[in-house]
Point group: C2
Chain length 465, copies 2
C-alpha cells in the first residue's frame, strides 16, 4: 500500500489496481518516479502522488478519469514540470497523469496558420518540427514547457507584447472533464460567437476544471527579417517611458524586455557580457527588411528623446541568439550570484503607466528588507519578475521574502494590476485571489463546483477546493 | 395587468411594482415602449417584455436584478437593439433592462491604451470622444451597436483580421450576476494568470450568465497612415487565395473584405459605383507612410501572381470613406434590389483554406434553391455573410431559406467551422449548437445552471434554458 495525504487509501489502492489493469507498466508506483513528480521548481515541499500514469491517448485519459471519479481519487495533470507555483504537487495524494509520452504533432496547416498537437508536445519540439514550413509558434515562456501545461497556466513570455499569450493563441482544446466526458471546446474557425467560450475557460484553469489532452494553436508566419537591439537608460522610469512611447506610436515591437541594474550585473557575470549596470531594454523587431529598419529608426528617435543610449542593434542571428540566451538564462545567472541559495521566481502585472512606480517601489522594498532580488520584465505588457535568492539555512530570510511578496502583490493590486501575469496561481498565489477578485472568486468556485463536484481535478489549487 | 407569455403574471406585477418604486418613470409599461423593445432587426416575431427599465447605474441594475430574482422574473438586457438573432426578444416576458441612458465614458488612458465605459455607450460615440487623443477603438460590426451589446455577443467586424474581436479587446467587465452580486471580472493588467477567465466567459454569453454594466476596452494607436484599395479577381477562389497569401506573408492588412458578383451589383446600384461585377476585395492598410506603401506593393505582387486587378488604391480620406460607406451599406443595398422583401442576415466562419469552397458551394445552393442572397465576407477571418431577401407574401420561400441556412451551417461545421462567426446564437442558431459542440453543450448548460439556477437571465437563448 502506498501512503497518501488525505485521500482514502483503500479507494486509492482500488483505483491504482484498475489503472494498472488499463495501463500495464505505464502505471508506476515507484518511489523515485513519484518523488520526481512531487518535486517542483519552486519553493514548495515535495508532495508525491500515489501513482504516476504515463498516458498515451485521450480515450485512455477518459477511462482513467472515470476510474478516479468512481473512487474519488485526486488527479494531477503533469506536462514538463516547469511550473513555478506548485501546480503539480500532489498535496492530497492521488494519481499524476504524465503527458510526456503523449507528444505527437497531429496536424499542421500552413494555409490556415494553425496546428493540433497532443498536450505533451513541448514548444521547442513544435518549433523544430515547423522550421521548414515558414511558420512558427511564438509563445516563449523561457522554459521548454509542454503546450498542454502552457495552455493550463495561460503562459506567455517575451513576445506576448506582439503575438499575445496562450489566451489569444489557443484555437481549441480537447478536454477530459471530471466525469470522463471528452469535450472539444471549439472548432478551428479563427473566431466564433457560438456559445460560451469554453476554450478560454479551460485556458488558465490549471487542471482544476478539466484535463487538456490536445491543443489547436494559432501559428504565425516567420518574419522575413528579425533584428534585435540593446539600449541602456538612465533609470527604470526612462526605460518604461520609452516602452510606452513605442507602443503608443504603434511600433509593432516583438519583444521589449527590461532588466534592472542587479539583473544586468548577474547576466554580465554569467553570460560574459559587459553591459553598463543600469536599466536596460532588450528589444526585437519582426517584419520585412524595410519595416524592421524603420521600426529601429523610430525607436532610436525615442531613445534620443529620453536620454537613453547608445542603442546597439544586432541583426546577425548569432548576436541575437547570444542576447536572448542571456535573457533566458536570467534565472541561472541570478542563482550563480549567491551559491547555495534557492531561487524563488514570482511575477505581477500592472497597467503599463504604473510599471515604473511599481518596479521602483519594489526595489526600495528589496533594499529595506535586505534581500537580493534582480528584476526582469516583459515591460510591453506591464509584467515583471523578481528572482529572489533565499538561503535555505536562514529561516528568517524566508519570512522577510514572504512579507516582500505580500507587499509586491498588494502594490500591484492597488495599481489595478494582477497578482500574476503569467506564472499562474497554483498554491503560491491562492491567498491573494480574494483580494484580487472579490466576489468574482465566488463565481469561480460556483463553476468549479458545477464542473468538478467531487473536487478530484487538481484539488487544493487555484480556487482551493 | 400586463400580459405575459410564460412567467407568472402575479409575480411579474409584483416585480414591476417594486421596480417602479426604485426607478419612478424610468420604468415603463407603455405598449409602444414594450413593442419597440420586443422588435428585432431579424426575422423573428415581436415578443414585447412586460416592462422596460431605463437603468442608470450598476448599483441600480443590481437592485433591480434582486427584485427580479426574488420574483423569478425574466431579465432581458438591451443595448442598441441591433442584434441579428433575436437576442433581445422577451419570449418569456419579463423586464427588459435598457442601457441607452447608461452611456457615460468613465475614463480613458492614452498611456495604457485602454478606457472604461458604461454598457450603453455606442462605438461611434466612443470613437468621437477619443478622436483627439491619438487612439481609437477598432471593432466595427457595421451597426452603431452598444459596447455592452458588442461584448455580450462577442462582436467583431471588418478589421478583426488585424485588431481581433471583442474577445481580444475587452480587458474586464463589471457584471451583475443572477443574484444581484456585482462582479469585476478582471483587473486592468494587459494579461493575467490569476484564476478562471471570467471576462471571456461573459463575453459572448449574450446576457444569459450575467448582465454587463461596464466594459474596460483595449484601445489602439491611430495609425500615421491609412490607405484603402479595391481589387477585382477572376473568381472567389483567386480572391481567397490572395487573402491567404497576404496573411501567410505577414502583411498586417487591417481590413480585407470579399464581395461576390451579386453583392457588387447591389452596391453599384445603391452607392452609384461602377465596379466590375465579379469577386472583389476591399482592403485597408494601416501603419507608417512607408509601411503602408510597402504593404500595398506586396499585395500588388500577389494580385499580379493570381491574375487579379487592376488594384486601385485610395489614399484620400474621402475616397476611403466612400468605399467603406458602400461596405457598411450592403444590407440596405441588398434590400433595395427587391423592394417589399425582408432581409435575413446570417453568418458562418470556417478555416480560411476552406473559405472558397464554402462560398462556392453556398452559391450553388442559392442558385439551386432559386433564392437571392448576395455574399460579403470578412475573408481574412474565414467569416462570411449571406443577406437573404424573402418575400413576406411567399411562405414557401421562407421554407427554402430555412433549408438553405441549415445546409450552410452543416457545411461550415463539416469544414471544422462554426455556425456563427460574429452574429451570435440568440434564438436563431440555438438548434445548431448541439451539432457544433456535442458534449460541450452539456458543459455550457452546467455553467448556466450553476450561475443562474432559476434561469432568469435572458431565458430561452443560447443554451435554451
Amino acid at each position: 500500500m502506498v501512503e497518501t495525504a488525505l485521500a482514502n487509501s483503500r479507494l486509492i489502492d482500488a483505483a491504482i489496481q484498475e489503472a494498472e489493469a488499463l495501463l500495464g507498466d505505464r502505471l508506476s508506483t515507484s518511489r523515485s518516479v513519484r518523488d520526481l513528480h512531487g518535486e517542483s521548481v519552486a519553493w514548495f515541499a515535495n508532495h508525491p502522488p500515489d501513482a504516476v500514469a504515463f498516458v498515451h491517448t485521450t480515450q485512455e485519459v477518459s477511462e482513467l478519469v472515470k476510474i478516479c471519479a468512481r473512487h474519488k481519487v485526486p488527479i494531477i495533470p503533469y506536462g514538463a514540470g516547469t511550473s513555478l507555483e506548485g501546480h503539480t504537487s500532489a498535496i492530497h495524494g492521488g494519481i499524476t497523469f504524465d503527458f510526456t509520452q503523449m507528444n505527437n504533432i497531429i496536424r499542421v496547416s500552413a494555409e490556415d496558420l494553425d496546428c493540433t498537437v497532443e498536450a505533451g508536445v513541448t514548444r521547442i519540439q513544435l518549433n523544430q518540427y515547423l522550421r521548414d514550413m515558414g511558420v512558427f509558434f511564438p509563445i516563449d515562456p523561457g522554459a521548454d514547457a509542454s503546450i498542454g501545461g502552457m495552455a493550463a497556466t495561460r503562459a506567455s513570455g517575451t513576445n506576448a507584447v506582439r503575438y499575445g499569450t496562450m489566451r489569444e493563441n489557443v484555437l481549441n482544446l480537447t478536454v477530459v472533464m471530471a466525469d470522463g466526458t471528452i469535450v472539444k471546446t471549439a472548432r478551428r474557425a479563427r473566431k466564433s460567437s457560438a456559445g460560451y467560450d469554453l476554450t478560454r475557460l479551460i485556458v488558465g484553469s490549471e487542471g482544476t476544471l478539466g484535463i487538456i489532452t490536445e491543443v489547436t494553436l494559432k501559428l504565425h508566419a516567420i518574419p522575413e527579417a528579425i533584428s534585435a537591439g540593446v539600449c541602456p537608460f538612465p533609470d527604470i522610469k526612462a526605460a518604461c517611458d520609452a516602452t510606452i512611447m513605442a507602443i503608443q506610436m504603434g511600433i509593432p515591437v516583438a519583444r521589449i524586455e527590461l532588466f534592472d541594474d542587479a539583473q544586468i550585473a548577474a547576466c554580465n557575470a554569467y553570460s560574459d557580457l559587459d553591459f553598463p549596470e543600469t536599466a536596460i531594454l532588450f528589444l526585437e523587431f519582426h517584419g520585412t527588411e524595410q519595416s524592421v529598419a524603420e521600426q529601429m529608426a523610430l525607436f532610436a528617435d525615442i531613445v534620443a528623446e529620453l536620454g537613453g543610449g547608445p542603442f546597439d542593434t544586432a541583426t546577425k542571428t548569432e548576436d541575437r541568439n547570444r542576447l536572448w540566451k542571456a535573457r533566458h538564462d536570467v534565472y541561472w545567472a541570478t542563482l550563480a550570484m549567491r551559491p547555495g541559495c534557492k531561487g524563488l521566481a514570482t511575477d505581477v502585472c500592472v497597467p503599463i503607466s504604473r510599471l515604473a512606480d511599481c518596479v521602483e517601489e519594489t526595489r526600495a522594498d528589496i533594499e529595506e528588507f535586505n534581500l537580493y532580488a534582480p528584476i526582469v520584465g516583459h515591460v510591453g505588457d506591464g509584467n515583471f519578475h523578481l528572482i529572489l535568492l533565499i538561503d535555505p539555512k536562514d529561516p528568517e530570510e524566508k519570512l522577510r521574502v514572504d512579507e516582500l511578496l505580500k507587499r509586491l502583490v498588494m502594490r500591484a493590486l492597488a495599481m489595478e494590476g494582477t497578482c500574476t501575469g503569467e506564472h499562474g496561481v497554483g498554491m503560491g498565489k491562492m491567498k491573494f485571489l480574494e483580494a484580487e477578485h472579490g466576489q468574482g472568486l465566488g463565481v469561480m468556485r460556483a463553476i468549479k463546483k458545477a464542473l468538478d463536484p467531487d473536487s478530484i481535478l487538481n484539488p487544493g489549487k487555484v480556487v482551493a477546493m
